[in-house]
Amino acid sequence: MLYDVLIAPFLDMADSPVFFAEVVIVGLLTGVMYSLVALGFVLIFKASGVFNFAQGVMVLFAALTLVGLMEHGVPTWLALILTVVIMVVLAYGIEWFMLRRLVNQEGIILFMATIGLSFVLQGLGETMWGSNVKALDIGIPDASFEVSGILLNEFDLFAAASGAVLVAVLAVFFHYTRIGRALRAVADDHQAALSVGIPLKTIWVIVWAVAGMVGLVAGIMWGAKSGVQFSLSLIALKALPVLILGGFTSVPGAIVGGLIIGVGEKVAEIYWGPLFGGAIENWFAYVLALVFLLFRPQGLFGERIIERV
Amino acid sequence: MTENTRKIGNTLLRVDDITLSFGGVHALNGVSFEIKEHEILAIIGPNGAGKSSMLNVINGFYHPQKGTIAFEGRERKRMRPHVAAEQGIARTFQNIALFKGMSTLDNIMTGRMLKMKRSFLWQALYWGPALKEEIENREFCEKVIDFLEIQAIRKTPVGKLPYGLQKRVELGRALAAEPRLLLLDEPMAGMNVEEKEDMCRFILDVNDEFGTTIALIEHDMGVVMDISDRVVVLDYGRKIADGSPDAVRANGEVIDAYLGVSHE
């Protein structure tokens, strides 16, 4: 038994390095997909201290809106623009109906409020566009090809690339635009930001809108794989370990966390899964994150928690 | 008031050559002093002198890199703060550290935590020994409440109390533990004159009636000189003076420290 757990899997890896490389690459590509979802959480947590559980449903809502519009004959480019507009309107609504009325509440109350919000969005999305599964095809190629024994899929590479672009854009946005700097200021200290005249409410609207757009990208990528349907909102659960591993407040953390979780769970599932009867990757991701947390309670890139009396 | 009628006893706590640093900054640098039984010791010094750090070291919240602490003659090494509490060291905090969600009475009852031994199974029944224990400790807390004259706010959540009363409740919580050594971190900060007078009276009465040893940090020199038996002065993490209030008052280095003479 010990041999099976501690030695055999490594022999297995060494035995077929090409396959191992493929596992790692697939893990990395999957990790980027997780990061896409985790990013939305991070943005909102950073700027408003809200653990936005509705992010998963926002992904669903954005994708549903896009597909719904396309089903009604709206051309893809227009549907994309309209969806972005709708996400902005949504962010405005959320700020007006919810956030401004819950200022200064404890984190857990805000967290619960976002779960309430997720119910509303779910109901709204399904009322508007129906509960049936919808195929999402915006013309991303998805043929597979082999490179020195490693099978790659165009779609996965495209998704990873768009993830990378998205992160780059966000980084530029945060560092080189006026709004971005204001965002960072808000993230550091709400009160201080307010006192130097940064309009907190506007910032919140912007952040939720940006998170909505990130959700749209995530929704397109995941929706293309599974069709757009209710289950799309459940990918939030795959993003949570990424989130705690990378830290709630760090954009790079979401990326690195995603990569670690992606590779970790794939390697675990393929080399150790069969020993335990398979399907271990879901809880393994959480346990992996948990182990990291025991050494760094604030996540890899989270802000250090200092305790004083 | 300053007339010393109490019997000052043997050394209760001795700190020896304590050095504490955060990163490269020395908060305390080779500090040694003693606290004798039944006395009121004041620790003073300018901002950043390491006073609060000293208290944190004494009750085990910070762990000094160097030096020893001996309580009742027994030397101790690294330990968790609750061990200090078990030995009989209680304290109040510079920024009030009350349990905001609980009532005054419950806050003071938490001070009795270590005196209550019944297991949670008895507690779940709230009957027999557990009830008896609860009532006995409640009686003690009521004494503390009477002593501090806060009967009227017994059931008020402490978060709703004004600052001065919160300070008093915090003192009550510390007293409820029947400490051997009571550490008070700026007990009078932010109080008006009347409140300060009340607080002084409580401190002296505690010392008088229960014989509790007290170490306090305070900025108000008038108060310090009035109530303390002995004064330790810290500056930039070093001890620069130690003696009776009058002796300290006359110490040149202390005056320099307070006037901000440069340290080169």
């Binding site: 809880w283 959480y286 | 919240f61 609980m102 779940a124 009521e142």
Partner: protein
């Protein structure tokens, strides 16, 4: 006018420390208990018992369990479903292995198993705090779900992997299994919940409760006055999981009759957390109010449109129900973030002064 405490003097600390110090409250509670034990079983329909009251009580117990941990000790947990699962599966395993042991004793042992599991998954709380801990407890949720699905021993290797409550008797009356009547099951649940709720109330008003609240309000200060965070937090996790475990056992044996791991999925954990927060963190009464809100509101919302003769397509009706439920949650959090228990308290204060508010 009638709700006054003037003239009621306490002559001992014991009297002052009772749960309901006001005489009118005691009468009110006595009446409630009488209705719950005698009135309801006589009057309520099977639908009412099976679909409303039994789940309400069971979830109230789970909510009390989570409230001990989250409301009193300040540790957010999303592993409730997992701990309930332990209770349910262990009850099945124990009662099929020892069919002659009284089922109530089995419940307690199953609760203890859950407590042990809770203890283990509580260990990270020593280092991890806040939302990091909340997400970390999801590890318990997913791991336990996987375990009970995968390890055949827990469900006696039956090919489907579901557990079914076999018939068990108490004083010669069948209380579990399909032949147990809804009234009997309701009464058993009510008794268990009443006893455990009382015990929880006792815990939180005594030393243990104060140590939990101290950790919740300011863990550093608590440690300095002599409360050991490790022991206190783990005790909260353990006792909380015990409650959840018993609730899970009742869920399978006194309500659903059979279950697979999906019955205890993550939604369950969220649902119980809702109850705790909507009801009021740090309030035993709040756990009941929260459970009532979360269980009963959707049922009312489902049944309301047909009652008023509105005939909506069932999916639209459900969507509206979901949206309304979500909005109500947000609404309540905005109106009173301290939960229904606080609203109740405010109402009582008002009533105390009524009709002369000054």
């Amino acid at each position: 006018m009638f709700y006054r405490e003037a003239g009621q003097f306490k002559t001992s600390y014991a009297a002052d420390q009772t749960v309901f110090p006001i005489v009118q409250d005691r009468w009110g509670v006595a009446a409630m208990v009488a209705i719950a034990f005698v009135g309801v079983p006589l009057v309520a329909s099977e639908y009412m018992l099976q679909a409303v009251l039994i789940p309400f009580l069971i979830f109230a117990l789970a909510a009390i369990g989570l409230n001990l941990l989250t409301g009193y000790c300040g540790q957010v947990s999303l592993g409730t479903g997992g701990f309930m699962m332990v209770g349910g599966y262990m009850t099945y395993k124990l009662t099929t292995t020892f069919p002659d042991v009284n089922i109530l004793i089995v419940f307690v042992f199953a609760g203890l198993c859950a407590a042990l599991v809770g203890f283990v998954f509580g260990l990270p709380s020593l280092r991890i705090k806040g939302f990091y801990l909340a997400v970390a407890t999801l590890a318990a949720q997913f791991f336990l779900g996987w375990t009970f699905n995968k390890v055949g021993w827990f469900y006696n290797y039956n090919p489907s992997g579901t557990i079914t409550a076999p018939p068990r008797e108490l004083f010669g009356i069948t209380i579990t299994g399909p032949t147990a009547s809804a009234e009997v099951r309701y009464l058993v649940v009510l008794c268990i919940v009443a006893v455990f709720a009382m015990m929880a109330k006792n815990l939180v008003r005594g030393r243990v409760g104060r140590s939990w609240m101290a950790i919740r309000d300011m863990d550093i200060a608590a440690e300095i006055i002599g409360i050991q965070p490790i022991r206190t937090k783990l005790m909260a996790f353990t006792i909380s999981s015990f409650y959840c475990g018993v609730a899970g056992a009742m869920m399978v044996f006194l309500w659903l009759g059979s279950a697979e791991t999906e019955a205890f999925d993550i939604n369950q954990s969220f649902l119980v957390l809702f109850m705790v927060i909507i009801g009021g963190l740090g309030s035993i009464l709040g756990s009941f109010l929260g459970a009532a809100f979360v269980i009963i509101t959707p049922i009312i919302l489902t049944n309301a449109p047909p009652m008023f003769g509105i005939d909506l397509p069932i999916d639209l009706q459900k969507h509206i129900e979901i949206m309304l439920f979500g909005s109500l949650i947000v609404f309540f959090l905005i109106v009173e973030p301290h939960g229904l228990a606080r609203l109740w308290q405010i109402a009582k204060e008002k009533l105390r002064l009524w009709p002369f508010p000054y």
